[in-house]
């Protein structure tokens, strides 16, 4: 396990370093002088030169890369162009909104996916099972931004049941939760399908296990066997599935934040691209990549701890 953890950790560090390298190349290849962009068209040549020296742009490329690299590992992602605030602060300020959105997405997918999968497994081969199967595939297939737009159209614009924009009043928890319902549905609906399929498959496996057969032989009520003894084991793989899922939900969250005009990292990057605020773009991309790598690392370590076969094949 120790060797596996070490290897996996090394891979994560390598991936993040590679991401930093690519982002540095990106900054370097963007047309235009960053100092000129930051100061605007009315700056004098002396001002530009001063800022170039302050930003370290006068140094050779490998020094610049080393500064960026060491800076990024210690959390220094440079300053925002407009307000000159540290990029890391700006990104971390928006991160809770995105995390709340993802947590909401997980809640939706678990709340709908587990019962559906369980129901399908119990009534295996029936019409209900087929319907759950088709629905699972369908919600996985349809892109989250289409779901977001249609949810906005149906529940916010036409029916007016739920608010269409924003994240709710700060400090008012119930208002914030109401604002979270639709965006998190758009983020989580696809994962209802994945989880329903996963739970169904593992339920079918567990229902064949000997301890369930024993419980049946003891004459325990059917309902109790299914929900108390089988389901508690069958939902375990879901946890690791979600470890991967959180990263994917990050992508959907970007769309949900734009469609529902919510604050968050996705909206931050999108706006930063439109205003050519490049330090924010690189900073936010780097922070989300690190988050993604960390979550995948956690999920992999969890699977490795539970299943020795994964460790040896790595």
């Amino acid at each position: 396990m120790l060797a596996y953890t070490f290897k996996r950790l090394l891979l994560a560090v390598a991936i993040v370093s590679l991401a930093m390298f690519l982002l540095f190349c990106m900054i370097y290849t963007i047309p235009g002088d960053p100092a000129a962009v930051a100061l605007g068209p009315r700056a004098t040549d002396e001002m530009r030169e001063a800022l170039r020296i302050k930003m370290g742009l006068d140094q050779p490329i490998w020094v610049q890369f080393w500064n960026f690299f060491t800076g990024a590992w210690t959390g220094d992602l440079g300053n925002e162009v407009l307000s000159d605030r540290p990029v890391l602060d700006v990104v971390l300020e928006q991160l809770p909104y995105t995390l709340a959105l993802i947590a909401g997405g997980i809640s939706w997918s678990v709340a709908l996916g587990i019962p559906l999968g369980c129901w399908a497994a119990v009534s295996r081969g029936s019409v209900a099972d087929r319907i759950v199967g088709v629905i699972s595939v369908a919600v996985i297939a349809v892109p989250s931004f289409v779901i977001a737009i249609y949810a906005l159209l149906i529940f916010a614009v036409t029916l007016r049941w739920l608010p269409a924009i924003g994240a709710g009043e700060p400090g008012d928890l119930s208002d914030q939760l109401v604002h979270l319902i639709l965006p998190s549905l758009a983020v989580g609906l696809g994962w209802v399908g994945y989880i329903a399929r996963m739970v169904r498959a593992s339920m079918l496996e567990v229902l064949e296990a000997s301890h369930i057969r024993t419980a049946r032989a003891f004459g325990l009520p059917h309902r109790m066997i299914t929900y108390r003894y089988a389901l508690t084991i069958a939902i375990l793989p879901t946890i690791t599935l979600l470890g991967v899922g959180i990263g994917q939900m990050l992508s959907s969250a970007v769309f949900a934040e734009i469609v529902f005009a919510r604050p968050g990292v996705g909206k931050l990057v999108y706006d930063a691209i439109l205003t050519r605020n490049f330090p924010v773009v690189t900073g936010a991309v780097l922070v989300t990549t690190v988050l993604f790598v960390l979550l995948n690392l956690l999920a992999d370590l969890l699977v490795g701890a539970l299943d020795p076969r994964v460790r040896s094949s790595f």
Partner: protein, 273 residues
Amino acid sequence: MRRLLREPLGVFGLSLVVLVIFGAVFADLLSAYDPTRINPRVRFQGPSGDHLLGTDQLGRDLFSRVLYGGRIALFVALVSTAVSLVIGIVLGLIAGYGPRWLDNLMILLFDSMKSFPTVMLALALVTIMGPSLTAVMVVVVLVTVPGYARIIRTQTIAIKTSEFVTAAQSMGASNGRILFKHILPNVIGPLVILASMDIPVVIAIEAGMSFLGLGVRPPTPSWGSILNDGFSSIRDTAWIAIAGGLPIIITTLGFTFLGETLRDVFDPRLKGR
């Protein structure tokens, strides 16, 4: 094929796919309007006999735009999947058949490519390249190649020690000949099915990037940009958003149902992937 036609879901998927391809191929015959012609007198109209899906904020016929948007979507799906397949096959064969250190290095590269959230990758790339159809295709290739390369690599490793490969080696066949004549035909089957199941993902990437204004440039019609028009004027009329979303739903559902059935029929081993 006959087994596919016995599965109701497969038939349903196939008919949706045929419908979409038909609409895109015969777009100029089926539509009575130029998809980019602006006609301010008929803005924001609902569906009618003249305009089957209504008109958008500039008075353009949405049905024509949806049909021509299908051309963009299918073009991106076909071209970028083909490019990904070629790159994925070559990289996978090299990783699987080549020296150990090269294999490790490439696995690291594939894993790191996969570790970027797709949207972040797209946003970062567009920052460099600027929004264009090419940017969309580069994103698609970067997102899908690692998966293809990995599956080819695994299969190649499984096959390269088998007897017929050893026999070819002992008869003095070159590496290129062994790879393309003996190994490739044996590993390509599952790959084609995987690629067909990736088509909805590719279409979603194109539509998603065009929706964000990072893909196809206006006035070229794309399902994503129609959806974005609909989003901007969602309080005036629902029809534009519906017209933009519907083809995306039909296409992704069609290809997914078809792909799932194909996989179950041809290669049950891939199930659960």
